[in-house]
């Protein structure tokens, strides 16, 4: 029982990271109907920018952890969202109106470009960061050998995710930007007929998706402390699985899917085999695609008139 609870806490933290990345997939799919395969690599770029930002901050003498973390977050969000914006501008916008597979192929190309670019610029070896946030709290101690603990970094991850999700949901439901985004998602042509600059709205969607991915990237860096140029691929495919499981196009679905994938992966590692944890996640993708293609919260695809 204590073991299960502990794994649930671990899975929740991991799932939060997946959920933040999954939102980027689901938003882009909702608005222009393409899978942005470069999104996982945007997440990876976010981890690197956060790490570089931290090293620079330390070099110029900013060592107070809370301030350094806050500045790291700001820098990572800003620069990574520029990457997200540039990817759309360079690789996808010129192909709008082209055949359906074109942006998909372009996205795979962009993913390879980003990976190789980081590999060349930063080297192929793994980068490490010593734990910045330490300390744990005992959640449950029944007196036997196993004590259930939650670490400060896990608390930080879940709280940050919660805050971002709340803010993001508010933007989508209550601001004019969010309304424009929903309008573009439901009927791009009509949104333009009402004076919405659809290209700008699509750019902003990529920007926001990348910013959320960079936060996930920074959390990943702080949580695991080890990154390399290749982590975007597996993390990206898992976040994509999360988006599909939750129902692609649905924002709450992306978050729910992320949490479920995080939990399933953690339970699998805990009770079966840690070597096969990726197999577990991807088996879910296959099973969902076969038996429940619209996901948990997705709507059945209705042909637009």
């Amino acid at each position: 029982m204590e073991y299960f609870l502990q794994q649930s806490i671990n899975g929740f933290a991991l799932g939060s990271i997946y959920g933040l990345v999954a939102i980027g997939y689901t938003m882009v799919y909702g608005i222009i109907g393409m899978i942005n395969f470069a999104h996982g690599d945007i997440f990876m770029v976010g981890t690197f920018i956060a790490l570089i930002a931290f090293l620079i901050l330390v070099a110029i003498g900013i060592t107070a952890i809370p301030l350094a973390l806050f500045l790291m977050l700001l820098i990572a969000m800003l620069l990574t969202s520029l990457y997200g914006w540039a990817v759309e501008r360079i690789a996808y916008r010129p192909l709008r109106g082209s055949f359906r597979l074109a942006p998909l192929i372009s996205a795979i190309g962009m993913s390879i470009v980003l990976q190789n670019y980081v590999q060349l610029a930063q080297g192929a070896r793994v980068k490490t960061l010593q734990p910045l946030i330490t300390g744990t709290h005992t959640v449950l101690d029944l007196g036997n050998r196993f004590v259930v603990q939650i670490s400060n970094i896990q608390i930080l991850i879940v709280l940050t995710t919660l805050a971002l999700m709340t803010g993001f949901t508010w933007i989508i439901s209550s601001t004019s930007l969010g309304r424009d985004m929903r309008a573009c998602e439901q009927d791009l042509k009509m949104a333009a007929l009402l004076g919405v600059d659809t290209n700008r709205t699509i750019s902003l969607t990529f920007l926001i998706g990348a910013a959320l991915a960079s936060v996930a990237g920074m959390m990943y860096l702080l949580y695991y402390g080890v990154i390399d140029f290749h982590i975007g691929f597996v993390a990206g495919v898992k976040a994509f699985t999360a988006a599909v499981l939750g129902g692609i196009g649905s924002l709450p679905g992306a978050m729910l899917g992320g949490l479920l994938i995080g939990l399933i992966e953690t339970y699998w590692s805990a009770y079966f085999s840690v070597q096969y944890k990726d197999v577990a996640a991807f088996s879910i993708l296959i099973v969902v695609l076969i038996f429940m293609p619209t996901g948990i919260l997705g709507r059945p695809e209705v042909e637009k008139v």
Partner: protein, 240 residues
């Protein structure tokens, strides 16, 4: 005679390599209701969309208030106070009626949202009752009213209406046409109307054009066209 509000000069438009419009000339004067009638596939809706820049005209020019708008992107054309209630109504199905109207006001800079909303609600009172309902749950007639209301929220100087009577019960059609007449007579709103329901459209319009296969085949005042034998036999007999 005064300057036309909208002037379409020799416009051709293509879908891929297929010509949908073949040299169209149409003028809309301020304060007029002008209608285009024609059979399915004659290019009426394409003309509407070409005014809005999607697709853009390959030849010819579209001039609105003296300004050449032929090659502007759609959203900039709409910000010049042209509004369209498009073919198929295109209500945002997962937004409430209120949010749909808010979307309509996206280009109404510095306007008073409250009074614009009150104006639409007084024109179509059913929309106020449905304001928190999702657009996709409305009936066809209600959706059409919402599409027109949404277009009015930007306080347009030119209103484009594409087949507002399509698929609606006769009673609702009458209601919508009387609302269109009201807008024109009371508020001097200029309206460009595309219709298959030729009888209603020609009765309502000051002037009309008959479109056949991407060309203007006939033009005249609404009454003139109603009396032309070729119009009667092709579009009116038995088809009211």
């Amino acid at each position: 005679m005064s300057e036309p509000l909208l002037s379409i000069k020799g416009v051709s438009a293509f879908y891929g390599s297929i010509a949908a419009l073949k040299g169209i000339d149409v003028d809309v004067m301020p304060g007029e209701i002008v209608t285009i009638i024609g059979a399915n596939g004659a290019g009426k809706s394409t003309l509407m969309m070409t005014i809005c820049g999607n697709p853009q005209a390959r030849e010819g020019r579209v001039i609105f208030e003296g300004r050449d708008i032929t090659h502007l992107p759609t959203h900039e054309i709409m910000r010049m106070k042209i509004a369209q209630s498009p073919e198929g109504r295109r209500i945002f199905p997962r937004m409430t009626v209120y949010e749909n109207l808010q979307m309509g006001a996206a280009t109404a800079e510095g306007g008073d949202f409250g009074s614009d909303l009150a104006r639409v609600y007084s024109l179509f009172p059913i929309l106020e009752k449905r304001s928190s309902q999702r657009g996709g749950t409305l009936s066809g007639g209600e959706q059409q009213m919402l599409a027109i209301g949404r277009a009015l929220m930007s306080r347009p100087r030119l209103l484009l209406l594409d087949e507002p009577s399509l698929g609606l019960a006769p009673l609702i059609v009458r209601q919508i046409f009387s609302a269109i007449r009201d807008l024109n007579q009371r508020e001097k709103l200029t309206i460009f109307l595309v219709e298959q329901n030729a009888f209603h459209a020609l009765k309502l319009a000051h002037r009309g054009y008959v479109m056949v296969n991407g060309r203007i085949a006939l033009q005249g005042t609404g009454r003139e066209l109603l009396e032309r034998p070729e119009v009667r036999s092709a579009y009116l007999e038995g088809g009211r």
